[in-house]
Chain length 203, copies 4
């Protein structure tokens, strides 16, 4: 977020130490006590920081959480990652979806991620920021892999790539959100097969 507050504090004088302490505290706390019991007051206390320092730089609890996630991904930065591309689309997609399933199963990420999704649900501004800063880059990688498959003739040229990505990763995400069942590798594989081949019966 790092949205400009109405009084426009002087970002040049901002304390980097406090910023980091706040993001770390927020991320840890949401994992420990859950999102519902996460409070600005608690974050400030854990971070050893005045509440005002949080209110000065973030408009809401959700914005802090969002920046905490951003800070995490920034740690992985500079790598300009790409999805695996062995030439076998189906195999590659299975590899990636299995990894996604594993990540979602990691209890370390479950509660914070769930918390972030809760906020996104309620806050359009946060949803937009999420789409742009966190989900966007990853989605671009996915689409790039699909584009590569289009060039290789595996996927049709007029495919809606956004929709394709949604159809591949959506079921996993939905099952996670709604706790609709276990996120197994077998499930990941079945999604890939079903999406690629379509629902329709073929003779």
């Amino acid at each position: 977020m790092t949205t400009q507050s109405r009084k426009s504090p002087d970002a040049a004088r901002r304390s980097e130490a406090s910023r980091r302490a706040i993001l770390t505290a927020a991320f840890e706390l949401v994992g420990e006590v859950g999102y519902a019991k996460l409070s600005i007051e608690g974050i400030a206390a854990r971070a050893g920081v005045g509440k005002q320092t949080i209110y000065r730089w973030w408009p809401s609890k959700g914005a802090v959480l969002f920046d905490a996630f951003l800070a995490l991904t920034e740690g992985q930065d500079g790598r300009e990652a790409a999805l695996p591309d062995t030439g076998d689309l189906e195999a590659d997609l299975k590899t990636v979806l299995r990894a996604t399933a594993d990540e979602l199963n990691d209890p370390h990420y479950d509660e914070p991620m769930r918390a972030l999704n809760t906020e996104i649900l309620q806050d359009p501004a946060l949803a937009a920021a999420y789409a742009e800063k966190l989900d966007g880059p990853m989605k671009e990688l996915k689409k790039e892999r699909l584009r590569s498959a289009q060039r290789a003739g595996e996927l049709s040229d007029d495919l809606d790539l956004d929709l394709a990505v949604e159809m591949l990763w959506g079921p996993l995400r939905t099952r996670w959100l709604e706790r609709g069942g276990p996120l197994t590798h077998a499930y990941a594989d079945r999604i890939v097969e079903t999406a690629l081949n379509g629902l329709r019966h073929r003779a």
Copy 2:
């Protein structure tokens, strides 16, 4: 919900008028002030009811909201509805998905539904109740239509129907949750076509 409280109040003496007033007030309020500002106190005041009457019969804010939704669907009850089945699966699915899109676009349902989803995200018990009482019956109707298509040879016999339903309705729901774009009829149609035919290019 109507979960049993630990003191197990005597349901026989329960005031039906208060129950209805509470559910109505909850549904209206969540639409007016949003989920974040919805409070038990506010519901009680609007319903002209003591707070204790709410705490006596419901374990949480989310449970009240959930029952409010249940009450809505019960109003439509007794009809044993089914999805349209003209013999043309693709056309039927488009019809239904367009209707779903329209419903999600209805501002009257947007905020309450979003609120319910927020709670479900955080509360596994509520998620289970939602899956069983609200989403379940509708999902069964969808799967029934697909089963009919299997019988007609339009869909393969070994298709995972749950996954199929997710693949058809998931994108619409995800786009709505994340406010990822307009929910148009054209989008609904494209989902159906893509899901049925699969992503893979065919010669």
Copy 3:
């Protein structure tokens, strides 16, 4: 004070235990930490009471303090006290003024009384309440003794009794407020003599 709050809480349901705990805590705290550092939060914590319970019944810190004093004097109630009247006005007044000086010298009363005066200085409503409930009864006793002296021919009939009281007790009070010097019995005696005889030289 016990001023009516705007929401007019139901005094019948008021917790007497909380009320007493609050007044006691306020009185003790002001003696321990001084008026400047006296806080509603501190009073609530010491009294084992929610802040809201204070805000519900009192409009300000000063009003609590005032009621704390009222409660003290009510403890001495039922006695219908009167000032000593031996027939010798000068001796009686010296007795009473010496007692007043002793009281002001008592460190137990100094800080709370000073605190109350601070509030009175700033708050006209509180000043009026003080004049009526705390200072008034005592002043009436003083005037009654002077009236008795008028009847005995010791004081002239057209004397302004309010002014007389002020002239007798004022110097003591002012010296105390301004810390203008020690409040000795000798000083008390000199006040009485000077006030009774007047400043003017007599042949």
Copy 4:
């Protein structure tokens, strides 16, 4: 005040413009918002000055206010004033007390003066400074007039002049502090008469 701070700032480099701006701002603000809502931040903002500049030169809010009053009286300085001395003590005292009453009635001085008195009540150091710098010189003038009356045989030689001053000006000041009634010329006159003649009845 101008009390030495522990870091002993270099008074030679002190900005006179800032000092004046601070004192002016403090005096104006206390008149506008009242003493309770007077804040160092507010003064600094109004004066266009950094907070540190206030903390560097004054130890407390009260000290600033005190200096603001000092600055006012310094404006009237260099004249070596004296109270009127026509030879008629009673008339002269009535003149001066009427003037005092008028001053206390001036709303322009009421709030600031009340604020200063509030601080004096709580802060012994400030009380001493007040007694020495502000009240002292004026009291000396009053005592000088009384001494002149002693020489003229109007007042007895063994009169306690401090007590006499207190007895004359005290009632006015007390009535003002406690808002005990209107400060009229008639009241001023009655004080003088009562104090001079004493309370005692004379045949």
